[in-house]
């Protein structure tokens, strides 16, 4: 028997192996999807929270902050900001109080001129995000 190492076999392993792991990934996705309701705090998704998420996206907050650890690493984690600040009022006051021209020499958050309704929505969204079951991440309140 001569030793074989053939392109055909390598190709079959590529196709077969890929299909195998795609199916496994889909199976795990299916399980995730059915397990999520117990973890993702979806009951808290009100219209206000949805509006808050839309505003979060519309102003590209992820371009500076992280949310559940994903995003840019320029500004603090906001997945737990509700817990860090202690209330939605504190979040709203912070966003509202940003100086228009920034703080000299410091990283500054822009003044977005949100209406009170918008501020409510964003704070509600961040409160919802803070109550998702994240396997106990971040390690401490500093994010």
């Amino acid at each position: 028997m001569s030793q074989a190492f053939t392109k055909a076999m390598a190709r079959n392993i590529f196709y077969g192996g890929s299909l195998f792991f795609i199916l496994l990934f889909l199976a795990l996705t299916f399980d995730t999807d059915s397990t999520l309701p117990s973890r993702d705090n979806h009951a808290a998704i009100t219209e206000k929270v949805a509006m808050g998420k839309a505003l979060w996206e519309k102003n590209d907050c992820i371009g500076c902050h992280t949310l559940l650890g994903e995003g840019a690493y320029f500004a603090p984690e906001l997945g737990n900001v509700y817990k860090r600040f202690g209330s939605t009022d504190a979040i709203k006051a912070f966003i509202k109080g940003r100086p228009k021209n920034g703080i000299p020499g410091r990283r500054s958050m822009p003044q977005f001129n949100f209406t009170d309704e918008e501020l409510d929505a964003i704070a509600a969204f961040l409160k919802y995000a803070s109550e998702i079951n994240t396997n106990n991440w971040p390690p401490n309140i500093q994010g």
Binding site: F5, I13, T32, L68, Y73, G102, P139
Partner: protein, 469 residues
């Protein structure tokens, strides 16, 4: 160059390099904002600079992939492109749409851009790397489909090689996974879950097929090693890539509200992700060592070998550093991630596109096989300046990340984010200085296109005695 239609690759490559310059300039702006917080504020806030930096990266890599495909496919399929005109039309559409999007980021507040482009009808904007307005996304789909038609029809009606089929699978996968960017539910966990189907399954999935296929093509051309051998290893490597990389997606599902078992599945499979990159490095060196001839384009061979090494270091080693769930618990979303991102993208994708440009550009500009010796020496200076710079950028960011993790997450009295950032300033300054060196390297690289262009081509030295050993 054997086919006329390969010429359409040239504008793609030129645009790629041009956008690359823009990416680096905005990277330097961001780097400065890290230490001088009010730099350009409020005209160009950090998030805008970042969008431009990352979006330009993605777009120029896509230009590079498309250019590579247009160059490579006719030679592999042994026929002209089905429609060079379509390729050129798509080039201009993509370039104009891309430029308009970037200008939109820079000159209109992002929320106004969202309003102007009707984001509320189908909200897809404002998510990391997918910041493009929805109409731009639709444009990308149209360009991708036209491109796939052109490439696919050429491949399927010509000679089908492993290199071109793998490239086609990679490009098709790229287009298919991008469709998940249109799914943006109110449920943040689901949003994030499927967002990774675009981002992870691109960079740790289908893009690696494109990378492998381009590398295999350049190695076949420059080493003269038997196609059977190279294609066999291409299949083994990309099989390992998908075997580890698909379930490896799980390493993004530790802390975003997804079930706890992903910590195990993600850790185990992503811990294996360095293997295909290691194989790729061994493969590239092995093929060059067994070369049957010395190709006069030494710069292209250098880029190819560099891709193997740097992809392994950046994607493999730096990825492994923080991929295990217990480690990632502390490093998630810190400068460690940024360090990994920089070296992985440079090592894997920037370098493979520059490999292809280095190989193809001399022919596209009318040379027989290679640039003059002087031009190649300058190009190699560019290679070393950029590559060494990215290594140091990565090291400085890693140092910053380790300190950040310690001060903010592990010490007895964890400090607030901004307090910690102030303490990392030294590393950010070092990173910025290294970034300037990178830019110098890029300028030197571009200069290589204009240096020695009137001098004769580098000649082929005789094949080494050990060739074929």
């Amino acid at each position: 160059m054997q086919y006329q239609s390969q010429r359409v690759a040239k504008p793609y490559f030129i645009a790629a390099i041009g956008l690359f310059v823009g990416q680096i300039l905005f990277g330097l702006v961001m780097g400065l904002q890290y230490v001088m917080g009010d730099f350009l504020f409020p005209a160009i806030p950090f998030n805008v600079a970042r969008m431009v930096h990352t979006n330009l990266l993605i777009v120029w890599l896509l230009f590079g992939f498309m250019g590579a495909a247009y160059y490579l496919v006719p030679e592999e399929a042994e026929r002209e492109l089905v429609s060079p005109k379509l390729a050129l039309a798509m080039f201009w559409i993509f370039l104009v749409a891309g430029a308009l999007t970037i200008l939109g980021y820079l000159f209109v507040p992002y929320s106004s851009l969202a309003d102007m482009t009707g984001n509320s009808i189908l909200p897809t904007m404002g998510r990391e790397f997918l910041e493009q307005p929805t109409i731009t996304k639709l444009g990308i789909v149209v360009v991708a489909l036209a491109f796939l038609f052109n490439i696919g029809a050429t491949i399927l009606s010509g000679r089908k090689t492993a290199v071109s089929l793998v490239l086609l699978i990679g490009l098709a996968g790229l287009a298919v996974m991008f469709l998940f960017s249109f799914y943006n539910p109110d449920n943040l966990v689901k949003d994030k879950f499927y967002w990774w189907w675009v981002v992870h399954l691109w960079v740790e999935g289908v893009w690696e097929l494109i990378l492998g296929s381009i590398l295999a093509f350049v190695l076949i051309k420059t080493t003269g090693v038997d196609r059977e051998v190279i294609e066999k290893w291409l299949y083994v490597i990309i099989a390992m890539t998908l075997i580890t990389g698909i379930i490896g997606t799980g390493h993004h599902y530790y802390w975003i509200g997804t079930p706890a078992y992903w910590k195990w599945w993600g850790s185990i499979f992503s811990a294996m992700e360095p293997i295909p990159f290691f194989m790729m490095t061994v493969f590239a060196f092995n093929m060059v060592n067994r070369r049957r001839r010395n190709h006069p384009n030494k710069a292209a061979v250098l880029w190819a070998l560099g891709t193997g090494v740097m992809a392994f270091l950046g994607a493999g080693v730096w990825g492994f550093l923080h991929t295990l769930a217990p480690v990632n618990y502390y490093t998630h979303g810190t400068q460690i991630t940024a360090a990994h991102g920089h070296m992985a993208f440079y090592g894997a994708y920037v370098m493979i596109v520059l490999t292809m440009i280095s190989y193809a550009m001399p022919m596209l500009r009318g040379r027989e096989a290679a640039n003059s010796n002087r031009s190649q020496v300058v190009e190699m200076w560019g290679f070393w300046l950029m590559t060494v710079s990215i290594v140091f950028i990565t090291l400085f960011l890693t140092a910053a990340g380790i300190l950040q993790v310690y001060l903010q997450r592990m010490s007895e009295n964890p400090l607030p984010f901004m307090v910690v950032q102030d303490k990392l300033a030294l590393f950010y300054w070092l990173r910025e200085i290294t970034g300037v060196v990178f830019l110098i390297g890029l300028v030197v690289y571009i200069a290589s296109f204009f240096v020695g262009s009137r001098e004769p081509e580098a000649s082929v030295s005789p094949a080494p005695a050990e060739a074929g050993a």
